[in-house]
Structure formats: C-alpha cells, structure tokens
Symmetry: D2
Subunit: 346 residues, 4 copies
C-alpha cells in the first residue's frame, strides 16, 4: 500500500478526495490536514463519514506531513499551494496540486490573472494533469497541476477539433458553461447561500473568469496557434456538475469528415471520456459522482455551426477524480483503479 | 368592467392568467374552460386559489363562451387554437392566442415546423404580440399571436442591435437559452418528473426547437435581412425563468457607439424592459412572478464579441404577463395595469 | 399617505417589507436603513428592485430616522431591537418589532432562552402581534412584538382546540415543523450554503429552539393552563415556507364535535387563515409569497389522534406580511390592504 | 459467479439494482426485463449507464428468465409480483421481491389495504427482509419480502425500544416521515412533476398510507403486543432520502437506562445501522447513495418525550441496497459485499 495524504482536506474537494482514497484498493490514506479544524475527527465535520474512518484533521507543516506519506494531494486555496510545493518536492514527495498555482506555464499570464507567484521556478516543472492529453508526461513527473473544472470540460470538448489543424476557425470558439455550486467551495459567502442560488440562474465573472487563460493555454498548445476564446460561466442551482455548450465554426476541410467518428476515434480506449451516440445529449446527472466526461457533437445544418456538449462532475473529473486518475498514472496503476463508480441516479 | 375569459385554463399558463386577471382592476374574469376538468372548482385543482375565486372550469363551445365575455385568452395546445379562433373572431370577440398557431406568418414555414394549418387565412390578420415592437398594431387588431417564451427573451435581447442596420454580423447570432420546467407544461411525462430534472442539466431539441423560425421571422423583419440563428435550449432545474445568453459579432460601425446607451435609449420609457447598470448581470430570480425583462449587454474585449443576457419569467413576460400587457393595449389601458408586481425574492 | 420606515432593511425580512410597503396604497416608504450597506441603493444590493425604487440604505440613529416617518418596522437581529425601541417610543413613533426582543412577557423566561434584556420595562407594554387573536389590543398599542414564524404557524394550528377548555390533553402537543432556508437569514454561514441544504433534510436545535417558549406562552395564555410542547424544527431545501404537522390527543368532549366545523367557525371571516376542505392538505407552495395560512384538521381514527397541518410563508405571515397586517390594524385600515396577493404557482 | 437477474428493471428501483449488481464482485447480472422497453439497451433508457453495460431489456416469461439466472430480483408494481413468484419458486429460484405483495403475513390485513391476493399460500413462506432483525431466517429462505422504504426507516428507529418490553408506552408511537420523490416511481403523473414538487412540501395519504400495516406488523411482532401507530408521510423536494422523526412516551423503567447506550448496544456490529454521537442528528444527505441508516435518539427533558431520528436512502436501504444485502445473506457472503460505498456529498 502506498501511503498518501491530503493537505487541506476540509473543503468540498478535500472531502471528495477522502471519499475516493479511503476506498482505493492500492493506497492507504494516512493523514489529512486542516488548520482550522485541527484535531476534529473527519466524521464530526462531515457526518457522511460516520463509522467509515478514524482519521482526524491535523495541523501539520509540510515537513511533518512528509514523514507520513509518499504522495501528497494539495486541496488548498489558490496562492497557498505555492507556499508548500517546494518543501514537499524537496523532501522527495510526489505532489498533485488541485489549486491553480501551477497550471499556467507563462509567468506573465499568471501575474495578469492571479498576481504574484512565490515559486515560479516550478512552473515549467509542473505537468498539466489532463491524462487524456498528457498521460506520458504525468507518469514521469513529480508535480501535477490538476486542471480546473471548467477547463477540463472545455478542453475535452474541443481537443478532437483543435488538435488536427484546419478543421475549425480558431477564432470562433465560444464556451457557454454552467456549473453547480460546489465549485464555489465551502467558504461561507452570500453568493453561495441556498436562497441566493435556488430557483435562480445567472452568469458571473463575465469576460474575466480565471479559467480563461488556462483554457486558452491548452487549446493554443494543441493547435499550435494562439487561441482566444469567449468563455461565459453561469451558476446552476445544483450541487455538482458542469455542462459546457461549445460553439465553433468549421472550416471546409471538416465537411468531408464524419464528426461523430472523429470524436469516437479520438477518445477510443479512454476509460472516462465517452462520446454519446447521435441523438443523445449529455446531462450532468448522468455523470454525477463519477469521473466520466460525456460528450456529444453536432453539426447544426441551418447555421453551419458545430455544437459540442460536455458534461462532467466538477468535484470528480473536474477535481478529485481526475487527481486520483493522475495518481494512478504516476503509480503505474490502471487509470480507473478506485474510480470504478456507476453514477447514482436520480 | 370588461368581461374576459380563458379558454383552456387548466395548465400552468392558464392558471397564471387566472392569477393576473382575478386581480386586474379593470376587467372581470367571467369564465374559464377545461374539457378535462369540467365542473371542477378552480381551487380544487389548484389549491393556491382557495378562497380567492368561486369559478369552476366549464366545458364550453366557442359559441357558448362568446356569450360570456368580450376578450378571450386561448391557453390551448398548439394545433387546437386554430380550430376555435375563426369562431371567436366571427362572433366579434378579441382574441389573444397563447399558442404558436398564428405566430408564423409564412405558411410554408408553418408547414415545415408544425404541420398542417387549419385556418391559414387568419395568419396575416394576426399581430405578433410583442408590445415593445408592435404596440400600435396590437392596439388595432382583433387577433394577437402572443409570442413564445424563448422568442420573447431572444428578440428583446437582440432588437437594439438588429433594428439598426450594419451594427452586427447578421450571420453571427448564437442564442444559448436556459428555461425552467414550467415551460414544458403540466402534462405528465417522464422528462418533466422531479427526479429527471432536479440536480440535472442538459440541452434538448438541439437544432430543431420550434421557436427557431419564430425568432428568425422577427429578427429578419427587424433587420430587413434573412437571418438564421443558432438557438440551443437547455432545461434548468427551476420552476420559472428563462435566461438567454446571446453572442454576436459586431461590425466596425458599432465600435463608435456606446453599447450601454444604445440599449438604454432603445428601451427608454418601457415599463417592463430594464437595462441593468454595467457590471450587473440578469438573474431569473430577480424577475420571478413579474412581467419584467432584465437585460445587460457587454463587449468582451478579448474576443471582440458582444454578449447580451436576457432574463424573463417564462410564464409572465414569456406567456401570461405579456398576454395581459397585450390586452391592456387593446383596451386602451396603461400597459402595466394589473401587472404592477415587485418580484418576491428569494 | 402615512410615512413609514424600515430600520435594518438589508436582510431577507427587510427586503420583503420593502416589497410590500412600496406597493401599499396608503403608506409611503420614506426611509430604509442599514449600517453595513449605508449609501448603497436598494437595487444594487437586491437587483429585483431595479427601477422600482430610488431608495438607498442609510445609516441613521433612531432620532434621525424618527424625523422621517411615523411608523417604524424593526427588522433587526435579536438583541439589537431592544437597544432602539425605547428611543422610537419616546419620540412618539409606533413600532412594529420583527425581532424576538419583546415577544416573551415573562422576564425570567426571556433570560433563560435569550439572556439579558436591556429594556425590560417595555415587555408588558408590547402586544403580541397575532391579529387573529389580539387585533383589539394591536389597534391601541404603540409597540407590536411581531410573532416568530414557527409560533405563528403552530399557534394558528392549535388555537381552535386550545381556546376551548377540555377538548384536548394539554400535555399531548407535538409540533413537527419544517421550514425553508430564508428563515435562517442572509448572514453567510456554512449551514445555509446551497450545497449543505440542497438534496438534504434534517432536524436542528432539537429540544432547544428559542421559539419554544413563545409557542408555550401563547398556548398557555389561550388555555389558561401551563402548557409544555414538544417542538422539533427541521430544515427544508426550499426558499420559503413552513409546514407544521401538529399531533394532539383529544379528550372525550371532542368526539361529540365536528372538527372541521370547529375550525371553520373559529376562523370564519378571517382574511388570511383558510381552513381547507376535508381531503385537502396544505402545501407551502400554495401560500408562497402571500400572507395566507392554510390549515387542515383530521381525526385519525386508527390511533384516535388529531393531526393538524398548517402552512405559511415564513417571510410573509411568518414575518413581513404579518407586520404589515399589524400596521394596517394600527392605522385603522382593512387588514388585507396591500396584502391582496394571489400565490404565484409554480 | 452467481447469475442473477432483475424482473422489471426499468423503474428507479430497478435501475438502482442494476447499479449495484453490475459492480458486485461475486454475482453476474445476466438478464434484465421490461415489457415496455423490450429490446432497448439499458444505456438508451438510462444514459448514466453509457459504456458500462451491454445489457438490453428483454420481454421474458418467468420460465424464460429462470433459465438465465439463479437469483431473481422482482422490481415490479404491487400486484404483479404475486403473479410470477409461484413460477420462479417452483423452478427452484431464490426470489427477492421488492414489491409489497408478500410483506404482510395476515391475509385479512392484506385484503383491507391492498385488495385480493393471487398467491396467499406463499405469504407465510416469505421472510420479511430486514436483515438486522431476521438475518437467520433470510439465510435459509427462498422468498424474501423486501421491506418498504418507510417501514425500514421506522422499524430500525423503534426496534431498540420496542423489543425490550416495558420501555415505552406502546400506544404513543407517532412517525412523522418525509420522503424524496423517487419513492413515487418513474410513472409519469402530475403529482410527481418537477413543478408540483419543487419549492413545495406537504403531507399525503394521511391516515391511510399502505406502509402503515407493515410498520404495525413488525412492531407488534417485536413487542408481542398489538401496536397501532400514527404514521404521516410527507413529500420532500429531493431525489432521494427518507427522514423519519419518531415520537414515543417512555415508561418509568426507561429512566434508569442510558438511551444512547441502549441504541449503540442494540446495533453494535451492524455494518449499515449507525447510531450517531449525542448532539448529532441524521441528515438524508449523509447517507445518499448508500445502504446506511443513521439514527439518533434523544430524551427531550421538557416534555419527557423521546425523539428518534432515522435517515436512509429510500432507493438503497429502503429498496435496492437492502435487497442486495438480503441476497448477500442468502448466498453466505459478508453483508456489505458490493455495498461498500461512501456517500457522495454534497
């Protein structure tokens, strides 16, 4: 059993990692930390763990934690991960960072969207942890920058069209995305209150959501062209789930191709990315609690536009599930190890 | 007091008309019909009317109903309105039809999207009941084709940009729309069950929703150009509300203009269409239960695209509220008569 | 027009008062205060008021506010009302206090459940503002202690049985109550987050909710006996509404009576309390946004127990609506003035 | 691998069994039937199974099905199971019936609540499948009558108090129960529509829910006394979950006992029934998707009453999960085999 730990485990993502790692057949979760909830049993803060783990949150330095595990998951706020990553790496640990701190590889872009970086030297060392694109690099690396939830959904939707050159107009990409509330975290704030969200729906951070440069970085890398996207996030009155509706304008070359086959071929053999049959459209409820991404792609004949739908669970494929998938790759395990859930519906 | 009646009052739209007309200060609701619920008191089918009306549903022919009222609201399924509209008009009644039967003025388009029409002679007589665009015609007419919920939301979002020529690329319009479940009506079907919708989100009728030609007809009329749009409806897990997120590509001429002013000028003096201040984005919960449409417009500088958000209550500005607004115009009343609600939040 | 003001208007109850008072035909809302949101336009904090009021929140002392209005609504946290009530009364204003500060008339009981009282001299001067029981006293008083939401629901459910002696076993009362989340206010706290509440349901404050002594005070007063109740509040994943399910054991005398008639007689002529016909059971969605209380009463023959169901909107009959009803009484207006809503369903 | 099948797998309970059995490590799900959806792939009707099973629904007679599996789960409507149970048993299959057809052992009670029984001879042969009470009998039997969802929740709440004589007043039991909507099944009906349920809450079938005699049968059996209960079901706007709030009056003997210990002792060693620590109260969201039952018990000192809270997932411990637990017992497996989930929160 490989010993693993979660640094900052008291948020929604942290406790989702707990759910996954406690049932993982190959690893042992030895330690979970939280400054605020030090010495509180996990099951006191999160009663759904009652009787399922004796672990309590601990307040530990990276050095103290490093002695207790080999792989470290960082489920910390943005800006905090960068304070501890160097310590863990220096101590020889493998790190999967679920914050945004090491996702952007260009330091200027980081400055513009997030501010000062405390450990810029590690930016290029980090591997962007989207296994369907980078699994070879993930296998070898010591620092995974686990992708954001919206970027995971958007990049998986677009990768088949953008990887091959000349299929679409690279200036035409519009990502209209809708996310459940757990994406906003467990910090108490008015905008996340039940009464502010239930029976409501709205866009937020229009034109300035921090996931924008992350999406653009990856699409640019795949296409070899500098890509700008329109990305509009909305807040859905559900606990979990992201649906991205992506609009692109095809180029001529695409019309000789079968879109459905293009997507099925691209993701053939993938355990977690599923291209739905024609006539079916992804629903976030059909991937809930799992690491699946459901995709569908349609050429709308009237307008000549392509529409791609992409559904994930933001806490799973959009965070904790993908982190465990990355860990599996790093440990040489089958990717679906410990992630073999069927969605619970309804 | 003007006597009015609702033909087909047992659905969500019908009962919303009841709510409005029972409190309208100038009209008297004298009759409500329903074949299925004949002789059932309204308050037995809809307990929220307990003690608020002695009316019971009646099973009446148009001729029988015509003797009881001067203005008739038709809250019937598509295809049924066209069977009774000629009778009501022949008997000298003024008709506000909430179905789609008389919204499309081109008979071929109607055939293609809805099938055979039983009263095509009346198509050109009908006035499309969007008061902000057609109030003069509505005042004079005897048959109002009350707009669909999605079209109301989309047309109000686009009218300021499309009415004036050369502001936007008319081929660039994408309408990503999200609607609450009451839009699907009160007929029992699996897809409207609580468990199928709650904690879910998905697109439906992609590329083939019947509101598409209605949107295109009106945008084409406003612009003078034949316009095709990409329109993608999604199902939101809320009772009421539509948010449309509309993407367009501006033309050069637009850059010399102040978008916010353009919208504020266009809707200045309108009682029900409100352009939010910059930095605010419409939320369906802020218009719930009212006839308001909240709009915001943004130029996204990174991509050079314009994004317009439009929020309405699909049962109000998207159906019953707009129908009463139309009736007010037909009767020469101030448009807000009986519609003077403040949204109940949360 | 009578000038009225809201002291502490930035919470859910405060903004609900705004909704009601802005449309009230006899009063003019001249001032709303908030320390935290001083100088913020109401419509900036609550966009559903966009275009509906030019008011901004002000930071005023009671003395400053008193010069601007004749009737003052206090929508303050518990413990804060008692700091300002003496000032408003000394200045000759009529006060409707929506906090709990003046609801309990016994100072020892207050100490036990709430702690120290800063203005105990006013406790006996305050009238418990449940119009169906105390409208004569409300008419004459200067300080109304507006009832709690749970107590309103429970007392209206039990009054017909407890007012008349010997109908029920006074030790048998169990109130199983379920409330929507707006009852917890707009303060950001983890327990009110969307993700903590949606798809969940639980009891809270079991055996120690502060509304318990308020319910007992009023039931004891009505019955002339010292009454203890079992009161169990639960948190419902809805915005608004309280349903109380009340169980009592009847005494012999009751069996000669017709329960349905007993309730209908007791509330005959009441504008806001409606006894549903036999076979119908209250639903919180049927009173939403209104000042109605829906009641039903059943003798369960198998167990010989009586079950009463009581549904209100916690922000309306449970708070702001009842406060306006009380103001109407104080001003000699018909009680339904400005409260004449039909519920918006769904 | 033991071959198992689901007869009638197209409802919410049936598809939940699919979720469990497809991942069960010891059994092989070989066949699922549905008359209505014959030849439809499971993943076409329920897209959350996309890529997870090649099974399609078949329309089979019991005889045809019996050749394909050894254990049969019946997820049929009440009244239909009794038509096929004799065939399966005659063919030597072991049957777990999730309908109510074989839960009541007294034929007169069955007649009164459900009507005519077509296979009364099998009533006494059936074992009531509540493992915590009857695991020895379940191990030996060929026909398990899988308990109803409400009864499971209520009986587990009361068993520790009722099994031992003289602890409570057996006439004092009140069960105020609240269930999610999936309990109403996937049949389209108005009362299960999203818009009828969301933002609503009400009681239903007051005094006449068919689970009443089932609860009474089991409580009477445990206590040795004929027990009548007051059972009031309510409809919660959530997908899954039942919370029962149970009120009982203790007898003197109880006051010498520690309630918490009594419950902990009673359920010590149970894998699925968890007594929460004092001060914690069950939340349906903490057992969602799992076979757990969370219990808490409190003596309310003011009234001298005991309150027990019991939370289960109605589709799991209330149906499919318990059915698999019963199968595990019948097959001699550890009870938690294939049921080892941690709840996914939020």
């Amino acid at each position: 059993m490989v010993k693993v730990g979660i640094y900052g485990a008291s948020g929604y993502t942290g406790q989702e990692l707990l759910r996954l790692l406690l049932r993982h057949p190959v690893v042992e979760l030895t330690v979970v930390t939280s400054r605020r909830y030090a010495d509180t049993p996990v099951a006191s803060l999160f009663p759904h763990f009652h009787g399922l783990t004796p672990l309590a949150f601990q307040n530990l330095t990276p050095e103290e934690m490093a002695s207790l595990c080999e792989v470290v998951f960082l489920a910390l706020p943005h800006g905090v991960s960068m304070e501890v990553v160097p310590s863990f790496l220096t101590l020889g640990k493998r790190v999967i960072d679920l914050s945004a701190d090491f996702r952007l590889q260009d330091i200027d872009t980081f400055h513009k969207w997030y501010g000062k970086h405390l450990a810029p030297a590690y930016l290029t060392q980090a591997v962007y942890g989207l296994p369907e694109l980078y699994r070879e690099k993930i296998r070898e690396c010591t620092l995974v920058a686990n992708p954001g939830c919206y970027p995971t959904s958007a990049i998986l939707a677009l990768a088949p069209l953008i990887t091959e050159s000349n299929l679409i107009d690279s200036n035409s990409i519009i990502i209209d995305a809708k996310s459940g509330v757990s994406g906003a975290g467990r910090e108490p704030k008015v905008s996340s209150l039940f009464c502010e969200v239930a029976e409501g729906f709205k866009a937020y951070n229009v034109g300035k959501h921090r996931h924008t440069p992350e999406i653009e970085q990856e699409l640019s890398r795949l296409s070899g062209l500098p890509i700008k996207v329109t990305f509009t996030p909305h807040l859905l009155p559900v606990n979990r789930g992201i649906l991205s509706t992506v609009y692109v304008t095809p180029k001529k070359e695409l019309f000789s191709r079968n879109l459905q086959e293009l997507y099925e071929d691209f993701y053939r053999g993938e355990k977690f990315v599923k291209v739905l049959d024609e006539g079916f459209f992804p629903n976030i409820s059909a991937v809930r609690g799992t690491n699946f991404c459901h995709l569908s792609v349609t050429l709308e004949e009237r307008s000549g536009r392509i529409i791609i739908f992409s559904a994930i669970d933001n806490l799973m494929k959009g965070a904790a599930g993908q982190a465990v998938q990355n860990m599996n790759i790093m440990l040489g395990l089958p990717e679906e190890t410990g992630l073999n859930f069927i969605p619970a519906f309804p």
